[in-house]
Symmetry: C2
Subunit: 209 residues, 2 copies
């Protein structure tokens, strides 16, 4: 009988269990993305499984949220690393932003934070994410395509702005977010008066501490 845990074509009880692993995770992402404080039962319902299927895999809601959040953080890092390899500094930054917005990674990492006590791993990953972001910003600035008065910390807030755009339809939401990201990116390119106010300070948005 097949023993490969990676296979999606597993049959029987074990197959269902393996498939439930991913079904549950997907459902959780969808549900908690739509409403970070959704009840656990909503996840089970959306996944089409019972509540016990969920509690067999995670010790509690907090663990599930933590997993989701950490996955999002890892995805952010992966996108940032991929962008770092783009030879063009401007498209590296802007396409990175586009991908992060599309994947709704920001909602995952930020809106869910605070609902659980972060693990040390996540702190480390968060630091790495910050570094990579700073790299992308610095490179774009050095290339002269990004206005000088933008700082690394602005990126998080920009993503927050895009994440605020929401409609009942996920696809439509993605499209509209791209629209306002485009507006923001046009602003990032320069033009207009200097940006007002002191920029966000490094520790200021310390949801991660």
């Amino acid at each position: 009988m097949p023993r490969d845990a990676e296979s999606a074509a597993l049959s029987g009880r074990r197959g269902q269990a393996a498939r439930n692993d991913v079904v549950i995770l997907d459902a959780a992402r969808t549900v908690f993305l739509a409403d970070p404080k959704a009840p656990v039962s909503a996840v089970a319902e959306h996944a089409g499984v019972g509540i016990s299927a969920l509690y067999r895999r995670y010790p509690g809601k907090e663990a599930l949220l933590c997993r989701l959040c950490h996955d999002g953080l890892r995805q952010y890092i992966a996108e940032a690393e991929a962008a770092s390899r783009d030879p063009d500094a401007w498209s590296a930054l802007t396409e990175f932003l586009g991908r992060v917005v599309d994947a709704d990674v920001h909602s995952l990492t930020v809106n869910l934070a605070g609902a659980f006590t972060p693990t040390p791993d996540m702190g480390e990953d968060a630091r790495r994410a910050g570094e990579l972001t700073a790299g992308l910003v610095a490179r774009a600035k050095a290339a002269g395509c990004l206005r000088e008065d933008v700082v690394t910390e602005d990126v998080g807030l920009l993503l927050e702005c895009c994440a605020a755009v929401r409609t009942p339809d996920p696809d439509r939401t993605r499209v509209l977010r791209r629209r306002y990201l485009a507006l923001l990116v046009a602003g990032l390119a320069g033009g207009g008066p200097p940006l007002p106010g002191p920029p966000p300070a490094p520790g200021e948005l310390g949801r991660w501490k």
Copy 2:
């Protein structure tokens, strides 16, 4: 004895009652702006009054929310009317946006909507608000200072983006919001590639129907 209901210097029981009217409204605005689903008791506590002081004035939470929201809508209209009188089409639009963002009117009108059944009055006011907004946009476009591919409905989403910027400190929040509004406004002025995706349709964001 003084009978003037407008006076803030009313003495005695009636005076306290009149003063509580405004204290409660202010507290409600502050509290519900910070958290639209805050408990009623939080409002009373923030106002420094008991819960009954609140229930003496409003039949229930919903009525209070409705009042707050309607007030916000009226303020929006007032700002839009004031802006309409600005002879410069561009500053009419941008300074209007700035004032609305500063006053956090958008959070008031949008984040609170859905928590109560709107009155017909509000529907009427919402329509008027839409008209005024469209006027500001049309004028800026006609003057050639606003990019052509922006539509009236974009304004609501822009405000939503700004409202998404939040810090524990209200003053700092205001400053940061202005920062990203400036970025968006720079984008609105033009430059960069055309905005992607179909723009939001008139009825699409129908939180008010």
